[in-house]
């Protein structure tokens, strides 16, 4: 007998965020009305978060295959072959909403979640990167969020002993009510020892291990279940608290379990906890699972089946072991001081059957729950204001008057300023692999036991995506790849975290669809497969959506670790070269925002052909040892990139003397425009001709623009056809001071 259930009222169904049609489908699947536990299980599994109901039809378009791909989307994380019998396993996840409610715990549990996604695959996590978006630092609330999120990431990642080697932060008031916290994690696994979330083998035991289950994160739906809880009304914590110490034990226990021949499948309990892990594992294997809740370790007495199935308590895992290996699994979990219990068996009938105290409390076909959720092809169309955004009359904007002042204020604008204050709170060196620490175009970690290294970067210019979602997405792919090649790495795989507003709005859906198209086209052209990803919709408050932010995490391989490259100038006397062409690309630039308070215009145009040629050339000249440094031009344009080459080295700062011609450009476009496919190189004097000739041979515009040396930053721009030139001459120490301490000063109010 099922326990008495309330009548399925309209209210109850609505509280569970299910539409009438969705509810009808549930009744059809079950052949009867669901009980409250079943309703809760459907509601979480068919939520946008778990079922990708608005995005799935579009995500299918992304290129996910390639010669290196070992595991594409669909599992806990993607995996790419890096040779030597090893795989890079990586993924990115968002924890936006929880981080707004409680920044420390929200960000911390975000880190915990993505780490579990990686180590459930059998990979030891070796690097984290964090991609963050906040509103402007002039608001106290935003400063509070920044401090909380950064210390939450530090608190969890540092304790786990996984270095946070890089990331990205952008400040824009559009994120004030909807900050973004996206975390990327990469681990290394043996290619033939990748573990999947599958419940194969009828009769195999299903084992719960990790932390106890509490009433964490049971959201609005909780109210509905209260009426069945004969305990007195309690405040239910919807905020989950992370316990990185237990997660560290969980990590080590998992890797020890996986080293033996014990497991059939394993999956972490993320969103929708016990429900999602059990039905997804069963569904992947075409099997069912009989779960008995009686032995599920609990933190509190009196928990209902509804609560147990929906709890999002952290640091928990579900494994399917080989029959007969239970004892060994339990021994290992106990060695690591973890709670552990056999909670079920794999069955052949395809049903997820949940029992509690001898009674069946839920009985649902696992596949229906996991895979037969609704799919929507939501309508999409551009917003009415799109033309207003892109049409910008540049003639109405005066050209820059005081180039030195403009340079300094851009350098200290928080989006461009050094992120030192952030990454010094992250342990970015533990595991002793970090060859390039935060502060260069990409982070680089060596792979012990091989000659190889991996480079990683997270990128997305969401203003470009606002102005032109398709171009913006292509530009994000190009920039990520450029950051990798400037570090000497060949791009081999991509993960994404697609942060958008409410998909039920046609203009948001339009942004989403176009961004997917852009990613697809760029990835296909560059032959970079997307092996995992995540979608975060409903980033809107009071009808105001965030800018479309398809965050990308890209991974590159450096076959020979000694070919790793960094962005800063190395030696006085080296010659500075500029690769690529500078055009009139002020649209969507950071300069327009900081100096003209406009986020308008068309983003720079990308020629994928030119970009790809640049990548090939970069890899060639870095690998043959002709260059001393390489840095791509991105936010803030040429002059900011040059300044970064001078001031971003870990211990020494170097001056530079640069000479540029204007030709037909505006001065602000030359100095601060964000034309794509440009890189600044420094080379030894004896190498200049060789590199220049080789560039021209490869069809890449290349010019000698100056030399490294002295303690001043000098840019001379000769007068052009339309504009006057300028003379910038500033002490490098001054540039450094403005750039390096800006965020810290703002946060401390000094």
């Amino acid at each position: 007998m099922r326990p008495i259930s309330p009548l399925m009222t309209k209210d109850l169904i609505a509280q569970h965020n299910l539409t009438d049609d969705e509810y009808k489908k549930i009744v059809e699947i079950l052949g009867r009305e669901p009980n409250i536990t079943e309703l809760g299980m459907f509601s979480v599994m068919w939520s946008e978060h778990c079922s990708y109901k608005s995005s799935r039809v579009h995500l299918k378009k992304l290129p996910t295959t390639g010669p290196r791909v070992v595991q594409g989307p669909g599992e806990n994380a993607g995996a790419v072959d890096i040779g030597d019998g090893l795989c890079a396993v990586f993924k990115m996840e968002s924890h936006n909403h929880p981080s707004f409610i409680e920044p420390y715990q929200g960000a911390a549990t975000g880190v915990g979640g993505i780490l579990r996604d990686i180590f459930t695959m059998g990979a030891r996590p070796i690097a984290l990167l964090d991609a963050l978006r906040f509103g402007g630092l002039d608001h106290a609330k935003n400063r509070h969020l920044v401090k909380g999120v950064v210390s939450g990431i530090a608190g969890y990642g540092n304790c786990m002993g996984v270095p946070t080697v890089g990331g990205e932060i952008v400040f824009n008031d559009i994120y004030s009510q909807n900050p973004l916290v996206n975390v990327f994690c990469l681990g290394i696994a043996h290619k033939d020892k990748i573990f999947l979330g599958t419940a194969a083998g009828v009769g195999n035991p299903v084992i719960y291990f990790g932390s106890k289950t509490g009433r964490d994160g049971i959201h609005g739906a909780t109210m509905a279940s209260d009426s069945f809880d004969d305990q007195s009304e309690q405040k239910r914590p919807t905020v989950q608290v992370g316990d990185p110490f237990t997660e560290k034990l969980l990590l080590e226990a998992c890797l020890e379990l996986m080293a033996g021949d014990l497991l059939v499948g394993i999956q972490d309990m993320g969103a929708a906890g016990l429900t999602s892990s059990s039905c997804e594992m069963a569904s992947r294997a075409g099997n069912g699972i009989d779960l008995d809740l009686t032995d599920v370790p609990r933190r509190e007495p009196g928990m209902t089946p509804y609560e147990l199935m929906l709890s999002e308590s952290q640091e928990r895992m579900l494994m399917v072991a080989q029959a007969g290996k239970e004892e060994e699994c339990i021994r290992i979990c106990k060695k690591w001081d973890l709670d552990v219990a056999v909670v079920g068996r794999v069955t052949g009938d395809g049903i997820l059957r949940v029992k509690d105290q001898g009674q069946v409390v839920a009985e649902i076909p696992a596949k229906s729950l996991a895979d037969d959720g609704p799919r929507y092809e939501r309508p999409y169309s551009p917003p009415g204001y799109q033309d207003m955004l892109t049409n910008l009359n540049y003639d109405a904007l005066p050209d820059v008057k005081d180039a030195s002042a403009a340079l300094l204020s851009l350098l200290e604008s928080p989006t461009i300023a050094s992120k030192r204050w952030v990454y010094e709170q992250y342990d970015h060196m533990v595991r002793t692999n970090t060859m390039v620490r935060p502060g260069s175009d990409a982070a680089v970690v060596r792979i012990k036991g091989t000659n190889k290294a991996l480079a990683m970067t997270v990128d997305c210019n969401s203003r470009y995506c606002l102005l032109h979602p398709y171009e913006g997405a292509r530009l994000a792919v190009a920039e990520a790849a450029r950051n990798l090649v400037c570090s000497g790495a060949e791009p081999i795989g991509l993960t994404d975290c697609l942060n958008f507003g409410n998909p039920e709005r046609p203009e948001v859906m339009w942004q989403f669809v176009l961004a997917i198209e852009g990613m697809k086209d760029a990835c296909e052209y560059f032959k970079i497969p997307i092996v995992s990803g995540n979608v975060s919709f409903y980033n809107e408050t009071n009808g105001l959506s965030i800018y479309p932010t398809p965050m990308l995490g890209m991974v590159g391989l450096i076959e020979s670790a000694d070919k790793t490259m960094t962005q800063w100038f190395k030696q006085n006397g080296d010659v500075i070269l500029l690769l690529g062409k500078t055009k009139e690309d002020l649209g969507g630039s950071e300069y327009l925002k900081v100096h003209h308070h406009r986020e308008q215009g068309s983003p720079p145009l990308l020629s994928v052909e030119a970009e790809k040629m640049l990548h090939d050339f970069m890899l060639k000249v870095i690998h043959d040892g002709s260059v001393q440094s390489a840095h791509d031009c991105s936010d803030g344009g040429l002059s900011i990139a040059l300044a970064e080459c001078c001031i971003s080295a870990p211990d020494t700062r170097r001056g530079a003397v640069i000479k540029l011609g204007l030709d037909t450009l505006r001065l602000d476009a030359l100095l601060f425009g964000e034309s794509q496919s440009r890189v600044i190189l420094s080379v030894k004097p004896g190498m200049v001709d060789r590199v220049l000739n080789s560039a021209w041979d490869s069809g890449i515009p290349a010019t000698k623009i100056g030399a490294v040396g002295g303690d001043r930053f000098v840019i001379d721009v000769e007068e052009g056809q339309w504009s006057e030139g300028c003379h910038i001459d500033l002490p490098v120490d001054q540039l450094y001071d403005r750039w390096a301490f800006s965020i810290e000063r703002t946060l401390n109010g000094t």
Binding site: I101, E102, Y104, Q105, S211, G214, R215, D216, Q234, K235, R236, P237, V239, Q240, V241, G242, D243, F245, T246, R299, E300, S313, Q314, D337
Partner: protein
């Protein structure tokens, strides 16, 4: 006046510190100690002499800064 402020995690919220300490006490042989909860204790000197006003002030301090009311609850005592 002096305010003594106690900030503790709300009921039902995971308390990893408490759990670890409980475990440690147990392995130290304090077998009959259980249910350890860890919180913060703060003392603040106030210039305010009026008890009612002081109380209002402390309450505000707790709400605004000293406690994270999403996961924590607080109580306080005022002494002269």
């Amino acid at each position: 006046m002096k305010a003594k402020i106690y900030v503790t995690l709300k009921q039902g919220i995971l308390d990893p510190q408490g759990k670890a300490i409980e475990h440690a006490l147990d392995s130290l042989g304090f077998k009959n100690a259980g249910n350890v909860r860890v919180g913060k204790y703060m003392e603040v000197d106030l210039e305010e002499k009026d008890k009612v006003k002081a109380e209002a002030e402390v309450k505000q301090m707790c709400e605004k800064l000293l406690a994270n009311t999403i996961v924590e609850e607080y109580r306080y005592e005022l002494t002269a």
